[in-house]
Amino acid sequence: MDFQHSEDRRMLADTLRRFLAEQAPVDRRNAAAYGDSGYSPAVWQGLAELGVIGALFPEAAGGFGGSGFDIMVVFEEIGRALSVEPFLGALTVGHALAAGRRADLLEPIIAGTSIVALADAEPQDRGPDAPYATRATPDGDGWRIDGAKAVVAQAEAAALLLVSAQTVDGASLFLVPSDAAGVSIQGYANVDGGRSGEVRLSGVTLTADARVAADGRAALAAAEAAALLALSAEALGAMEVAKAMTIEYLRTRKQFGVPIGKFQALQHRIATVLLEVEQARSAVINAADAFDHDQGADRDRRLSAAKYTVGATGQLVAEEAIQLHGGIGMTWELPLSHYAKRITMIDHQMGDQDQHLQRYIALGRAA
């Protein structure tokens, strides 16, 4: 039993934290996050060179990490710095490809030279086992895809999209160049920074080898597992900063002649925030452990437990942080408000707290 990250991981975290503090302090982060491209190519390239992407993948896939705790460490720092660089795309696509035994495709992803995005969700909601509305049909030796994908993170920046589409073999996965004929992307800003996009695929023709998985279920499950862990860790990092900012504000802001941290009602509320954030940290540790050691429903249950926990705790932390700051906590100028937004919106990615609580229950029944 050891709750210290390994020396290597601590170094990785330190390096990442230092780099982001220097290269992407919150004002520069905001300029990029709310700017035209929605991220900083320079920061992204710098992080790739530091090996941050490689840390997300095991050696077999060309990386030098890839364990649950590697993902936790990297995404906690991403959360701490509110990084909007396209890590989630690299993580999910990379893990999907590796699970689909196409680790050979990972090299440019790990090098950071190829930005990738997972295009899985669709504009129309569908049932858990319902087919995708996006369909791929045989077209000569290759394929033709028609459909639409929803809220694809950094879709405009991505060179390649990993697209799920219904085929006669089930849900297959296709690597689609974003500049292929028939691909159109309507990009937009996210409320919490960064950009996403609606992807439309109209008669997109692909060669046979574009299909990287005939049955994409295992690959998508791997991507989902990695994403749930990553988003939970990112939320944790952002909560830690929001908590620390609020504690600092309680120490320094004066009203009625004393720091507001002297008021017991506020003291008790920040104490509650503290202990719930510690519980959230434990949930993320559990999820990382599950990612490494558990399989199937056992693993997914602990991942859903973490996503549920950071969703519920995130709402508490974001709302309390704003409320304890008062009006200033609502201003664009104060970094806190951007942390609150990011924490809140993570509950809108890959299923919210209620969905994961219900998934947790359903997986427990199935077990």
Partner: protein
């Protein structure tokens, strides 16, 4: 005990509804319903429509232009207007300054300012909070020093809502720096066009710029712009803050927002089934609906007590806390309802006449900004913490 309105009150409600059907422009109610930004002209338009009907200043005495309504009639009107998605009236002149002038102003001030509020000549804003004086309002520092027939004002106000449109600001200023905190304060009316007044917008987390900082540098204000007596401003300020506002619970606005939320839940599916059939979502929805139905009655109980001359005390704090909690719970669930489509931020879509392709379901993109914006409800207007202090003082008495 009878929750039902009298036949006369029901007739009045019908009259109000009829008026709203006929006179409330659909263009405006659509914007309100969808959470779009109202322009200055939008707000002025509705203001003028109500003034033309004589219903604008519905809580003013008749001699100053009020319609002579009972407390219950005002509650009915406020409720119906909110449910019809009428724009909220800008309260600073109508509901904040006017009651102070009516109670503490000179007859000359009343005759000058009140008609100009009614006809829209003067747009007022509020100069209460300062960067160092939020919940602790009495610690304000903006100074007014007498110099002949003028006060010379220096300092800074903040959280001045819609100050960018204002012609005038009513300010709390310190006129006696040697007195105890609450005793050296005066209530001053300042022309925003005076040399030395500068307004700077504060951008909020949702990208909106509805609040401002206002800076005063050697601003000369004629002494006749003092309301009441010098150094008695705290009394007027407190009167303004506790001035009985039947609408503080915002039941009508919450009911309208809840209807919209329920329509959203009915129109969407999640995991292949109607969102409203998701047991946890349905439970969240039902809890809010019940809380709101309870609140509606709580509000009427306070209204009825006011109609019988009861003084608002802990009640108005209670309505403020619970009313804002419910409204915030609605906006949180509205955000949550849209799932992934709450993330896209299309600020242009918040403006009238946006013609871009919609992203996701209708109105999805305003849900998160509205949620974030509405966090202000528990902070502004006396934070919910201050309201709890007030309640506790009233009931525990320590």
């Amino acid at each position: 005990m009878d929750l039902r309105f009298t036949p006369e009150e029901e007739a009045f409600r019908d009259e109000v509804r009829q008026f709203l059907v006929e006179k409330l422009p659909t263009r405006l109610s659509d914007k309100v319903r969808r959470g779009l930004h109202l322009t200055k002209a939008d707000m002025e338009e509705w203001h003028a429509i109500l003034n033309a009907r004589g219903w604008l200043a519905n809580h003013w005495p008749e001699r100053y232009g009020g319609p002579g309504w009972s407390v219950v009639q005002r509650a009915i009107f406020d409720d119906e207007a909110a449910r019809a998605f009428a724009p909220r009236l800008v309260p600073f002149g109508l509901s904040m300054l006017a009651p102070v002038l009516i109670k503490y102003g000179s007859e000359e001030q009343r005759r000058h300012y009140l008609p100009r509020i009614l006809d829209g000549t003067d747009w007022w804003c509020q100069g209460y909070s300062e960067p160092g004086a939020g919940s602790d309002l009495a610690s304000l520092k903006t100074s007014a020093v007498r110099d002949g027939n003028h006060y010379v004002v220096n300092g800074q106000k903040t959280w001045t809502t819609l100050g960018q449109y204002a012609d005038w600001i009513f300010c709390l200023v310190r006129t006696d720096p040697t007195a105890k905190a609450q005793e050296g304060i005066s209530f001053l009316l300042i022309d925003m066009k005076s040399p030395g007044v500068e307004v700077r917008p504060i951008v909020l987390l949702d990208g909106d710029a509805e609040v401002n900082e206002v800076f005063f540098t050697d601003v000369r204000v004629p002494v006749e712009n003092l309301v009441g007596e010098e150094n008695k401003g705290w009394t007027y300020a407190k009167y303004l803050l506790t001035y009985e506002r039947t609408n503080i619970a915002g039941v009508g606005a919450s009911a309208a927002a809840f209807d919209r939320l329920r329509a959203t839940a009915s129109s969407l599916t999640r995991g292949g089934r109607p969102l409203a059939d998701d047991p946890l979502f349905a439970a969240r929805l039902a809890r809010i609906e019940i809380d709101l139905a309870n609140m509606a009655t709580t509000n009427l109980r306070v209204v009825a007590a006011a109609a019988h001359g009861g003084a608002p005390g802990a009640e108005s704090s209670m309505l403020k806390i619970k009313g804002t909690e419910i409204r915030q719970a609605i906006t949180a669930l509205q955000r949550r309802a849209f799932g992934i489509y709450a993330q896209p931020f299309v600020p242009e879509a918040l403006e009238e006449g946006y013609n871009g392709a919609p992203v996701g379901p209708e109105d999805a993109n305003t849900a998160a900004p509205t949620y974030f914006n509405m966090r202000k409800l528990s902070i502004f207007g006396g934070s919910n913490e201050v309201q709890k202090n007030i309640i506790s003082k009233m009931i525990v008495g320590l």
